[in-house]
């Protein structure tokens, strides 16, 4: 790693001030499991000059239930979410998603905020020494469109970048209708990710997520992830479904597009119906209608459409 400047602010305001004073190549460091890899492999075209670590800010590591909301601090390690009894009993899909993220060791240091804001795992973007100067890095080509795109996007290719959002907790947070609270504002979690290239989130440079607020949920929820190995690997496709006691349905799949993909067509199929195997299958088929395939050089991502149908079927049946 090249050297850089490191800050350990003790309040969110202090951290935001440091970010504002250092507008170029300054990054926030939460658990560090993503940014350290990025820095070790010289992935970014310009090397980070400073890191602002949120590790020493008190109050960002709390899970509490108050005022009809479950509040999860942005710096809560994923393992704490996966093993929290309250989350396991009431927000099952989030606990399951956190439990299936990365490996046990990475979950101990990786945080929920970092997991939702991580950079993409596209292998062209992640290649050492900025070998593929792609769209996300200010170039003019998406190498996946003409190369090996087996893990790339099946939705929203009109936006040019074919990378996918690799977060496991994102679909669970979307179906649970979480709100993001930053030092500046509060908004629905679906607005967190943007198609803006090169960033993966729409957050401003000096905006820091402090916590996530999930409205009290009563109903059933389910998460499922498909990856090459059970541990360590990033998802090929993952998805979550939540059906509230009043019958509201939310289905979201991830690792299929630049940001988590809400399957509104599939939701319309499931809403108000008794869940059966054929209904769940139909929901998957509806969701896949708009999917498109990247025909790379010999390797396509066509199988991901089939996989997504299967995952939607599984998560819908899981809410039976």
């Amino acid at each position: 790693m090249k050297n850089f400047k490191q800050y350990y602010p003790t309040t969110v305001d202090e951290a935001a001030k440091i970010l504002k004073e250092n507008p170029n190549d300054t990054y926030i460091c939460a658990g560090g499991t993503d940014i350290i890899g990025v820095m070790k492999d010289f992935i970014l075209p310009t090397y980070p000059t400073a890191l602002v670590s949120l590790d020493r800010i008190p109050g960002l590591k709390e899970i509490k239930e108050e005022g009809g909301f479950l509040t999860i601090g942005a710096m809560v390690p994923l393992e704490d979410i996966a093993t929290n009894d309250l989350i396991k009993s009431k927000y099952a899909c989030l606990a399951e998603a956190a439990a299936r993220t990365a490996s046990p060791h990475l979950r101990e240091s990786g945080t929920i905020g970092g997991n939702l804001c991580q950079m993409t795992r596209c292998w062209y973007f992640r290649h050492n020494n900025d070998q593929f100067h792609c769209l996300r890095k200010g170039g003019d080509t998406c190498y996946a469109l003409t190369g090996d795109a087996r893990f790339h996007s099946i939705f929203g290719l009109t936006k040019m970048c074919a990378a996918v959002n690799p977060s496991d907790t994102a679909p669970a947070m979307v179906v649970l209708d979480a709100k993001v609270v930053t030092n500046k504002r509060e908004f629905g979690i679906e607005e967190l990710w943007g198609f803006a290239v090169p960033g993966s989130t729409k957050l401003e440079h000096d905006e820091i997520i402090t916590c996530f607020k999930i409205p009290a949920f009563s109903g059933k929820s389910c998460f499922y992830k498909a990856a090459i190995r059970k541990t360590i690997d990033f998802p090929i496709v993952n998805g979550a479904c939540a059906i509230t006691a009043s019958g509201d349905v939310k289905i979201c799949v991830n690792a299929v597009a630049l940001s988590p993909h809400r399957c509104k067509e599939a939701e319309a199929v499931v809403k108000g119906q008794t869940i059966t195997e054929s209904l769940a299958e139909k929901a998957g088929d509806e969701a896949a209608k708009k999917a498109t395939v990247i025909e790379g050089t010999g390797t396509t991502n066509e199988y991901k459409i089939q996989m997504m149908k299967g995952i939607i079927k599984k998560v819908v049946l899981g809410c039976k």
Binding site: K5, T33, E79, S103, P104, H105
Partner: protein
């Protein structure tokens, strides 16, 4: 060499003079503010010490006031060069070190302090060979900045071997290693599991050890080993 390094750096064993030299490097570059901070945090008798610092070019003489006994935590402070002064414990021994921002915990413990049980394998957080316990959590030292462990308590496989001999015995009895390179990582992770769960099931052991890779394929024997260790530890060993 390892022993020598350990001896030199461990606060428990170094002479006061040596510690003051170390502290002098810090204080010399943080100027008056740093001096005041350290002196006020320590309490007790104060004295003026002059030490010669031969770091980064020509030697210079620094006069600082520090206390006789340092019992409280030395506060996390940044030098003019952007280095961090951190105060932490490894296997129960206290260390005060100056680290670069880009230094990983693995580099600090393995290269500088000589804890050779922490192995480099992938260096990207994928294999678990560099696991250490930080405040009871099994954490990958290659994916942790050294400066972030200030005030924390670290345990490596060396420390666990003296704390939990039953675990090591169970690992030896079950022949859990072939080349042995990944074994310290497994030991650390298994110790973390046993500290949280005194009677783990097969599935729980599998899940807890899932982040450790072994290229020799010793995976099946870790399960009886951890179960045996759990039994032995319950028996008061």
């Amino acid at each position: 060499m390892t022993e020598k390094k350990n001896k030199k750096k461990s606060l428990g064993e170094i002479s006061r003079r040596e510690f003051l030299i170390d502290a002098g490097i810090v204080l010399g570059s943080t100027a008056a503010v740093g001096t005041a901070a350290l002196a006020s945090s320590c309490g007790g008798k104060t004295e003026t010490v002059t030490s010669t610092v031969t770091k980064d070019g020509p030697s210079k003489t620094v006069t600082t006031t520090v206390t006789d006994v340092v019992e409280k935590l030395v506060p996390l402070s940044c030098t003019e060069d952007g280095q961090w002064v951190i105060d932490f414990k490894v296997n129960g021994k206290r260390f005060v070190e100056i680290v670069e921002p880009n230094e990983t915990l693995h580099h600090l413990l393995h290269e500088k302090l000589g804890f050779k049980s922490i192995k480099t394998f992938c260096s990207r957080g994928g294999c678990g060979s560099c696991s250490v316990l930080i405040d009871g959590r099994p954490i990958l030292s290659c994916m942790t900045f050294a400066s972030s462990v200030h005030g924390k308590e670290i345990w490596t496989a060396e420390g666990i071997a003296t704390e939990m001999p039953a675990l090591i015995d169970a690992y030896v009895d079950n022949e859990c290693m072939q080349c042995g390179y990944c074994t310290p990582g497994f030991i650390v992770t298994a110790a973390a599991l046993l500290k949280r769960n005194s009677d783990p099931t097969t599935d729980e052991i599998r899940e807890a050890l899932a982040g450790n890779l072994c290229r020799c394929g010793t995976y099946p024997v870790h399960i009886p080993a951890v179960k045996e260790a759990a039994k032995a530890l319950k028996g008061g060993r």
